[in-house]
């Protein structure tokens, strides 16, 4: 049974810059279910990261959510018996108390660049402990009332934080965690740094992990380790993952469901197998054909998408993909804006090929 954790509904994010307004995200809706992985793919600049940042209320300036809502089905972290609370993230103050509890404590994020996302002056132990002090509590039994244990929570102590840090480092596969807990980020390799990032993100046992291209900067060998690690951890703590990437291979392995984005809009979303085996949107099809596949004979020409991503200030009319679309229908695609339609059960697409117009 899939139960929603985060519902992104018709969200629009705009940036006001010198040359006008960039609509970085335009009417995106998807749902992240509890314990499942959703993959978000698309070309650079199509709005994948901005959507994720909007969900954390962490939009860079001058970005603003100008439409839609992001609903978070919030469970009490320590007391699952309490009723689920519905939080509209778009309505929260970006510097408020609640969003800060959610950020880091309940949603955690791993960034693309492992080099610059760790503060260089702290040891890995300190970095993990800091997150623990903020967001993790230790249960203590304060009494027994009619065989019903009364639990309370207290903050972690320094010693416990160090122990948990070492345990986390071990979990993410860092050799000699007892020594590495006192290492500074620059003393670690790129892959190790990324693993420390993951350790920080996971140390607070979040409900959702937003992984924004967590392996793009890494070698395949380390990428493989990290993907395995994330899956293992997901199973053990029932965590949802929003996996942002432009690597189709990675997303095929990780995600249960995939959202394809192009120029701020989602163009297709479906279960992974259905998306890879029966892609509907011409953009998705083109993407799948454009990747060289390992094991396939070499020397062939690759199918590529003609042209390039349009200028955000001069978006083409009608379907934004039409100047590059191999199935372009003159008179239709350049006039009518396609809508978000369920072409098959669970398979949504935004393309006039699947609309009667």
């Amino acid at each position: 049974m899939s139960e929603p954790l985060l519902e992104i509904k018709d969200v629009r994010v705009e940036f006001e810059v010198r040359d006008g307004i960039i609509r970085a995200v335009d009417g995106v809706s998807y749902t992240v279910n509890r314990g499942e992985t959703i993959g978000v793919i698309g070309e650079s600049g199509c709005g994948k990261s901005i959507t994720a940042k909007a969900a954390m209320q962490m939009l860079p300036k001058p970005g603003k959510i100008t439409q839609g809502e992001i609903l978070y089905y919030r469970r009490d972290k320590f007391d699952p018996s309490r009723p689920t609370q519905l939080v509209n993230i778009t309505k929260l103050d970006p510097d408020g108390e609640l969003i800060r509890q959610i950020r880091g404590g309940e949603f955690a994020m791993i960034f693309q660049e492992p080099m610059s996302s760790l503060t260089p002056v702290y040891t890995t132990g300190t970095l993990i402990s800091e997150a623990l002090f903020l967001h993790r509590k230790i249960p203590v039994t304060v009494g027994d009332q009619m065989s019903q244990k009364i639990m309370q929570y207290r903050p972690v102590t320094k010693e416990e934080a160090r122990e948990i840090s070492i345990e986390m480092l071990q979990k993410v596969g860092i050799p000699k965690p007892h020594e590495r807990v006192d290492a500074y980020p620059h003393q670690l390799s790129g892959g190790q740094r990324q693993r420390v990032m993951i350790a920080i993100a996971l140390s607070c046992q979040p409900f959702m992990l937003i992984a924004d291209e967590p392996t793009t900067a890494l070698d395949v060998s380390i990428e493989a380790q990290i993907l395995d690690l994330m899956r293992e951890l997901q199973e053990s703590v029932d965590m949802s993952i929003m996996f942002i990437t432009h690597n189709l291979g990675v997303v095929a392995e990780m995600a249960k469901e995939i959202v394809v984005m192009y120029m701020g809009k989602q163009v297709e979303s479906a279960e992974t197998v259905s998306l890879f085996y029966e892609p509907k949107h011409p953009y998705t099809r083109a993407l799948l054909q454009a990747i060289p596949k390992i094991g396939r004979r070499s020397g062939e020409r690759l199918a590529s998408i003609k042209g390039m991503v349009p200028d955000p200030f001069h978006l083409p009319p009608g379907c934004v993909f039409h100047p590059r679309c191999p199935s372009f229908m003159p008179g239709k695609c350049d006039r009518i804006v396609p809508t978000w339609k369920e072409a098959e059960p669970g398979h949504w697409v935004r393309c006039l090929l699947y609309e009667d117009v």
């Binding site: 010198r18 590529s304 003609k306 001069h314």
Partner: protein, 384 residues
């Protein structure tokens, strides 16, 4: 071979073709960002005014010549009022007159404001003759008192000093030397710093070690004592102009190290950029790499650093001259003006002699505001 469904077309369509003037994009972006920073604009305007008024046309903007000694010794500032001698309001500025009194404490004549006398200020009046820009003989001043109508009247807006010289005029003149020293000194520092920094960063090895130790050596000395030692070594017999240039050189010598280090750092990071390697792999000479690929890349940074360093230059001159080690009369700079305030007696009996201080502060602030604005604007891609 499977037939690809999507095939590539050759040249990409260019949707951005409408964008005009693209080649100017960097500077227009810098300008756009700079314009948004109000403080920086204010700083730029102030600096322009300072150099325009003090640097170029001091003679015109000041009512008196710099070393003109009136017989009004230590006259109080004469306030501007907007009323006629009959007491009616007018838009034309007037000044109160002054009157001599015998000060029994100091046992001398002092000049205070006499509210019964009111004189109109005239604009573009004939006054003491001078040469505009050192070339064109003129006697028109921006403002003053019509000497033919009111021969006894004076216009000492900021009062006079012990020798009866108009402080307002002297501040304008003093700005010329102080600000010019800042500019010339900084230009020389820039050249020296960039050359040394570039050599050190580009060639590395022994040259680098040598230059670096040298900058550390110079930088390790405390500034003021070093100034003092060097300035004290300037022979007293030298002409004031020679002293001025020596002082500039001393300041340059003490300050180039910081800039050289910054340039070295920039060059070191630029040197590893792939475009530099690309030029090398195409066979470019050291000179070409330096002049086409490395130094231009440091320019925006260097301009900012240099702007932010000018106030230090001006303040150093002021400090040195105030200590009596820098410029000496008859040269007039802001430091020289302040030197006259070193005695407690002056502060007590002629506090208006401190009026140069706010001008120095203003000039320093203006450079800092401009420098900060430039720094933000020069990086339009915001660290991307």
């Amino acid at each position: 071979m499977e037939e690809p469904q999507v095939t590539e077309t050759g040249p990409e369509p260019q949707p951005q073709a409408q964008k005009q003037e693209l080649s100017q994009a960097y500077w227009s972006l810098v300008w756009w960002k700079f314009k948004k920073n109000k403080l920086a604009i204010v700083g730029a305007i102030l600096i322009f005014l300072f150099y325009f008024v003090c640097g170029l046309f001091a003679e015109f903007f000041s009512p008196y010549l710099v070393n003109y000694q009136s017989d009004h010794l230590e006259s109080r500032p004469q306030p501007i009022v907007f009323k006629t001698p009959e007491g009616k309001f007018t838009l034309r500025p007037h000044v109160y007159g002054t009157v001599a009194e015998l000060d029994l404490v100091q046992r001398k004549r002092t000049w205070t404001v006499d509210k019964t006398q009111i004189y109109p200020i005239s604009f573009f009046v004939k006054g003491q003759p001078y040469k505009l820009l050192g070339l064109i003989p003129m006697n028109i001043h921006l403002f003053g008192i019509n000497a033919e109508k009111y021969p006894e009247a004076t216009v000492f807006l900021f009062g006079t000093d012990r020798l009866g010289r108009d402080l307002f005029s002297r501040i304008i003149y003093g700005g010329r030397l102080s600000l010019l020293l800042g500019l010339i000194g900084q230009a020389l520092t820039l050249v020296l710093g960039m050359v040394m920094g570039a050599i050190s960063g580009y060639y590395g090895g022994a040259v680098d070690i040598l230059v670096q130790r040298l900058t550390e050596f110079v930088g390790a000395f405390p500034d003021i004592p070093l100034f003092m030692a060097l300035a004290a070594a300037i022979p007293v017999t030298w002409s004031p102009i020679l002293v001025y240039f020596m002082l500039t050189l001393i300041l340059v010598f003490i300050r180039w190290g910081g800039l050289a280090r910054q340039v070295r750092g920039l060059i070191l990071s630029l040197r590893e950029r792939e475009y530099v390697l690309a030029a090398k792999s195409a066979g470019a000479s050291d000179w070409r790499i330096m002049s086409r690929h490395l130094l231009p890349g440091t320019m925006s940074h260097v301009i900012v650093i240099a702007t932010l360093m000018i106030p230090g230059m001006i303040l150093s001159e002021t400090a040195l001259s105030w200590l009596g080690l820098g410029l000496r009369p008859p040269l007039t700079s802001w430091g020289v003006l302040l030197q006259e305030v070193s005695a407690v007696r002056v502060i007590r009996f002629a506090p208006w002699m401190l009026i140069p201080v706010p001008f120095i502060i203003l000039a320093v602030l203006a450079f800092n505001m401009l420098g900060d604005g430039l720094r933000d604007a020069m990086d339009p891609y915001g660290g991307r």
